[in-house]
Symmetry: C2
Subunit: 127 residues, 2 copies
DNA sequence: TACATAATGTTATTTTATAACAATAAACTT
DNA sequence: AAGTTTATTGTTATAAAATAACATTATGTA
């Protein structure tokens, strides 16, 4: 369990508290009072947090969420459902999907490292 | 089979000829001789082509590829393998994955519309 | 033709991300 | 502890990706 540096902790905290995916510049404007003043400081922290598996990037939204699973300690795989109505993003417990997809990768001859899966549609509430 | 407008055809042709995913501004610089001069013209064509299912966006790369499957005429689902060594991107024939994932979406109570799946690792050649 | 709709052209701006380099801080080595 | 290396931080400037806003032209259709 790697310990976070100052900036990493600040950035992680704000993502972790948020109920929705946060964009890099939203994060920036929310941490300026804490002394983080420029984009590279945010992006560096984000990069490291992703490496550690503490957060994930939602590629289709250029936004970042805290990992909601205990089992993706290293960011090998992530799967999200994204509601197109309320914009809610939920990380899917991905152990089953992971198994299925890594066996699939085998089949097509690929040496699998990680994947990113984004589901779009309507969530329980909105459908 | 929808017919393409002038700009859509120009943009599609260059993506379709390419052996690798193309970025919007790469496309732009390659079609300026054909009279497409500004980013919005490219992005509009890209948007429509995506709607039609003729191309897909590789979200993790901000790049665009022609659809390699005959069966995703409407861009409901797309799955790609991306080699981290040679950067090769291949669209996976996704009928099986589609079936699996849409049943999974059912299970978590989501009204599924589409998904985007990106596999990272090493391709046959590079592994 | 007259009207509506879709596509295009154009300029400017916004949003997202990184390059490059200087300054500190933390971690090792002797 | 002093010296050396490595990681992290700070800062300025810039690059890359995408869109807003509005004017113009083409296309369909009543
Ligand atoms: Zn996770
Ligand atoms: Zn919803
Ligand atoms: Zn396709
Ligand atoms: Zn390869």
């Amino acid at each position: 369990m790697q310990t976070l540096t100052r900036n990493q902790q600040i950035v992680f905290d704000i993502i972790n508290k948020s109920s929705e995916p946060l964009k890099a510049y939203t994060i920036l404007s929310n941490v300026q009072k804490k002394g983080i003043k420029a984009p590279p400081q945010v992006y560096r922290a984000l990069d490291k947090l992703i490496e550690m598996g503490k957060i994930h990037k939602i590629e289709s939204k250029n936004a970042f969420v805290a990992c909601q699973n205990s089992n993706c300690k290293v960011s090998k795989a992530a799967a999200f459902s994204i509601c197109e109505s309320c914009e809610e993003v939920t990380e899917i417990d991905n152990s089953k999907i992971s198994k299925y997809l890594s066996s699939f990768a085998d089949k097509i001859g690929m040496k699998y490292k990680k994947y990113n899966l984004e589901f779009f549609g309507l969530c329980k509430k909105c459908k």
